[in-house]
């Protein structure tokens, strides 16, 4: 089977400072996959590159064997919760319906079917009773569940979620995890960015350990060895980060032109 996500030699940087070096790995379909690493290790950056939200310096990514634009309707992305404005004038239903918006349609209208899909998504995350509540009046865990409902409403095959368990209490975390497992059992691929080592091993079938570079990627029990964990969570690779700073300062190209095709 073609991998759900196929990452080739990805290097990505902010303002010329590389934060991901030569990432090369594959995520299988139909699994619950964790991207795990300490703060600032580039997990969010990796998701952004997968979703085409930033341009990599080199390397490329295939999703279900295709370029993103061809399969975009099969992919759903849940950003980190703090990145959006929760004081926006909208209620829970409005936000979930955004999952049904179509960028190709001008004067887009919401159909009866869209509404039904949104209602179903809300009930799957147990938030139906809050459908008409303003989003600023939700707790962190509830906001997270609204985001997941919006993602469900997209009816995708591949889900990418950035830290869905942050600021969520234990009961909601269980509920969300059950939902994700159920999605997996229905053949969906779910990729979760996660920074808690304690739970990562229990939650995920496949784990990518990240710390600016890819430390390991594979079945959970293969990746969770003390050596690899030490490598990911232990001291930073000082040479690598110093090179990054040098590149930023001197305006060096990270890749020389004409060297690589994608």
């Amino acid at each position: 089977m073609t991998p759900a996500i196929d990452i080739h030699n990805l290097t990505a940087s902010y303002e010329r400072k590389p934060v991901l070096w030569e990432i090369d790995c594959q995520f299988p379909q139909g699994k619950l996959i964790g991207i795990v690493g300490p703060n600032g290790s580039g997990k969010t950056t990796l998701l952004k590159n997968i979703m085409g939200l930033m341009k990599p310096d080199s390397g490329y990514i295939r999703i279900f064997g295709e370029k993103l634009d061809k399969v975009r309707h099969r992919v759903s992305y849940v950003p980190q919760r703090e990145t959006v404005d929760w004081d926006f004038p909208a209620d829970v239903m409005d936000v979930v319906l955004m999952g049904r918006y179509n960028p190709k349609k001008l004067f887009g209208r919401i159909s009866r079917e869209d509404k039904d899909i949104a209602i179903e998504a809300l009930s799957r995350v147990n938030m139906l009773e809050f459908a008409n509540r303003h989003i600023s009046q939700l707790s962190g865990g509830q906001q997270q569940r609204v985001f997941i409902a919006r993602s469900l409403a997209q009816k995708a095959d591949l889900y990418l979620m950035d830290e869905p368990f942050v600021g969520v209490d234990a009961a909601s975390e269980d509920a969300i995890l059950n939902l994700l497992t159920e999605m997996k059992n229905n053949g969906k691929t779910v990729v979760i960015v996660h920074h808690d080592l304690q739970t990562a091993y229990e939650y995920f079938d496949h784990i990518a350990l990240l710390n600016t570079r890819l430390v390991a990627s594979g079945a959970a029990e293969e990746v969770f060895t003390s050596d690899l964990l030490q490598e990911a969570y232990g001291g930073r690779l000082t040479v690598l980060s110093r090179i990054g700073e040098l590149i930023a300062k001197k305006d060096f190209p990270i890749r020389e032109k004409g060297q690589e095709e994608n």
């Binding site: 939200l53 992305y77 950003p79 990145t83 404005d85 926006f88 004038p89 955004m98 001008l106 004067f107």
Partner: protein
């Protein structure tokens, strides 16, 4: 009434045209402004409004006449130049957009003023009216001008409707929208173009300098009364139209008074009113709530004091003013007032020798006392706080605990009999034994 109608010139169809035209133009500006408000780009309108002055003056210099169509063309061209200049500076330097805006705004406006002075010294026949571009002069609008501006406004409105969802989604969650194939760059550019149009159409009715108020203030006001985008847009449009009409009317009544300042004053009046009275965090409502809370607290404290006195002195006793004051420090005025209030509610009765609780007052006093003691017990048992720390906390919590919470407390503490100070916890019906 009819006389007023006449003095304002409203019997003339021209005047009505102007009035309703301005209302429509203002509403469109406010709708566009709502989206800049949501994208936190409020300053953009101000920058563009000032930046288009050279275009307006230039169109006059080239054509030699005051013609709405030429003015629009000049304004649009310089509006885009302003946007491009801001973007270019932000991209090429490390300056923040707001800094770039301030720089471009003042430079372009300065250039515009130089051109304007040039025109005024040139002695061209129409030149005297040019000041009206700065502060607006609705009375000088011709129906043909209104028509030109309205066509542009209509175009802006259609674009807004076409991209409604895209603009909304990008304003709320840029990354999420982009991941679904919406383009933040495109909607950003379109919004900038819309702001240019929304600003240019108000040149003659409000004037450049105050135009930003019409873009932002209605949106800010509407946000105070509404929690959803759709109602917010309706309100913002309505507010803009109403203030445009009333501002224009006031300015018509005075001799050659500029319109812009009046419209802005009306807007500011509505804004001030909303800050005070809005249902969504309005100051008056909040003050009201605070006052109500204080009253509840005082009332409950008095009932509790009476209940305590009754516990000490027996059921038949009546308590004098001084006895109550000794039990709990109330100022004389406060005590008088609260007793009066409770008497009207029939929660306390005034007997020959003083005050006593009625049946209902007794229940209430018992409830407060119970909550206080339950909470103390909860704090010391479950949170392991020391006994001398728990009283002040319970003093404030007793007024907040709801029935649900009380039930839960009772359940968790298993219907206790005594509080940590060994005082009996009173129940309406005898406690489970």
């Amino acid at each position: 009434m009819y006389a007023l109608w006449n003095t304002l010139g409203l019997d003339e169809p021209n005047m009505r045209w102007v009035l309703f035209g301005t209302a429509f133009l203002s509403a469109v500006s406010a709708w566009v402004g709502t989206f800049t408000y949501l994208q936190k780009k409020s300053l953009l309108g101000d920058a563009i409004a000032h930046g288009i002055l050279p275009g307006v003056a230039g169109s006059f210099l080239l054509s030699g006449q005051k013609n709405a169509a030429y003015i629009m063309i000049g304004a649009l061209v310089w509006g885009f130049l302003t946007v491009l200049a801001i973007e270019w500076i932000t991209r090429k330097s490390h300056l923040k957009p707001s800094t770039a805006m301030a720089i471009v705004l003042s430079a372009f406006f300065g250039l515009g003023m130089m051109l304007l002075t040039q025109i005024q010294n040139s002695g061209l026949p129409d030149a005297s009216g040019l000041q009206s571009f700065l502060f607006g002069q609705a009375a000088s609008l011709l129906p043909s001008d209104i028509l030109v501006y309205s066509i542009f406004a209509l175009v802006a409105l259609i674009v807004l409707l076409a991209l409604y969802r895209s603009l909304t989604f990008v304003s709320f969650d840029k990354a999420g929208a982009q991941s679904m194939g919406f383009s933040p760059q495109t909607s950003g550019t379109v919004l900038s173009i819309l702001v240019v149009i929304a600003t240019a159409i108000g040149i003659q009715s409000i004037g450049l300098i105050l135009m930003a108020a019409l873009l932002i203030t209605p949106a800010a006001i509407a946000r105070m009364w509404s929690q959803r985008l759709w109602t917010m847009l309706m309100l913002a449009g309505g507010i803009a139209a109403v203030s445009a009409i009333s501002g224009s009317l006031i300015s018509f009544s005075g001799k050659s008074m500029p319109t812009g300042p009046w419209i802005v004053m009306v807007l500011f009046f509505i804004f001030g009113f909303s800050v005070l009275f809005s249902t969504h965090r309005g100051l008056v409502q909040r003050a009201f709530q605070k006052r109500k809370n204080r009253q509840i607290i005082q009332r409950e404290n008095l009932l509790k004091a009476l209940y305590h006195l009754r516990e000490q002195k027996g059921e038949q006793a009546e308590f004098t003013f001084e006895e109550i004051q000794k039990k709990r420090m109330f100022s004389e005025n406060d005590l008088q007032r609260i007793l009066g209030m409770l008497k009207r509610k029939k929660w306390v009765l005034q007997g020959k020798n003083g005050w006593t609780l009625s049946g209902e007052g007794l229940n209430e006093g018992r409830r407060i006392t119970r909550l206080h003691r339950l909470w103390e017990l909860y704090l010391s048992q479950k949170m392991r706080l020391k006994e001398d720390h728990i009283h002040p906390i319970a003093e404030s919590m007793e007024h907040i605990i709801t029935e649900d919470l009380e039930a839960q407390l009772l359940h968790e503490l298993d219907y206790p009999e005594l509080d940590p100070h060994q005082k009996r916890i009173p129940y309406d019906t005898p406690a489970k034994s």
